[in-house]
Amino acid sequence: MDPVVWFFVLGVVAGLARSDLRVPAAIYDLLSILLLLAIGLKGGVELARQPISGLLPQIGAVLAMGFALPLLLFPVARFLVGLARADAASLAAHYGSVSVATYAVGVAYLGARNIEFDAQLPLLLVLLEVPAIIVGILLARGIDGATKWGKLLHEIFLGKSVVLLVGGLAIGWASGADGIGPLEPLFFDLFKGFLALFLLEMGLIAASQSKSLRSRGLQLILFGVLAPIPLAAIGAVIGVAIGLSIGGTTLLAILAGSASYIAAPAAMRIAVPEANPALSLTASLGVTFPFNIFVGIPLYFTLASWLHRGMG
């Protein structure tokens, strides 16, 4: 297992054992800023290396997936899991959107195996963050006059993760590999170390979710474990269809199979306040995130390799 994943385990164990270990909120913020910028910068540098013509079809396909996933998830959450409308819509938004931390663990997983991935992945990551949240709000509220869309879209598009990813992409693209060179020690060389610390904190948070997990019963756990697999499969198929490499296909599957725990909760809390925030967050952070980093990522990689062999 990748050592960064052990840090997650350490956090979970410390949290469940009620250790007094804490990562200060300011450090959590610093680490997420660094990871988001690093992912963006790396992507931007890669994008600058090659012509980006021919990217439009891929962008279209991925956006379409972003809008479609929550529509598939909503009926499952509403009728199979048996949630109220607002809660089902919120869960659909969380799982339709993406988790940057899961993506980062995926990047580390590929890196440890020396598997390259396509330059546009960080761009696709950004594209997948937003649509599901918009669809989720629509599912909960319908298209009534009461929703203040102006304010909401502002909130969503200018959320910190979108801003840092897009900003990093733009700076990396504008500066190129040479320009970014002096920034590499902080953003690239230390990436895995920062990810390890971040996962330690994620483990502590996931442990703190375990209490609400117990009170929610089995459905949520089942949903959190079972939903990622078909979602990731859809991501993998689309990845192959739009011509991504094995690495890229794996990452797109990871994105599709991951659930948001930053952007979606923040937006849903404001836009759909009647949805119970603990519900989606517990599933996303307490079940799906650990499932993905332990089981999902290797599985999606196998799937991507298998699909590629099938094509080749």
Partner: protein
């Protein structure tokens, strides 16, 4: 020193509401407000500020009784059913009554 009585309205709620609430307070006639970060427990469970969205804020507003009532009514209608929030009032003496 000349002193006058005003209402001190204290609100404890989710930190996600800070921007929105502060704008509303101004619109409802508060001459100012003071915010501190907090954590706590209530009917909606523990809010331990362990990370980003799970903390509380504690807002204090000094104002006259009329504005205090208006703010309280607004918060009740708009937030009580969906958000972790408590609200309480007390009397305080202020030195420069024209400020509040």
């Amino acid at each position: 020193m000349h002193q006058e009585t005003r209402k001190l309205l204290t609100i404890v709620t989710e930190s996600a509401l800070e921007t929105e609430l502060c704008d509303e307070l101004t619109r409802l006639g508060a001459g100012g407000y003071t915010v501190t970060d907090a954590r706590g427990r209530g009917s909606r469970g523990v809010r331990d500020a362990g990370w980003a969205s799970s903390g509380n804020i504690r807002i204090e507003v000094i104002c006259d009784a009329r504005v205090a009532d208006r703010i309280a009514a607004h918060l009740r209608d708009r937030y009580y059913s969906d958000y972790a929030m408590i609200l309480y009032l007390s009397d305080v003496s202020v030195l420069r009554p024209e400020k509040f």
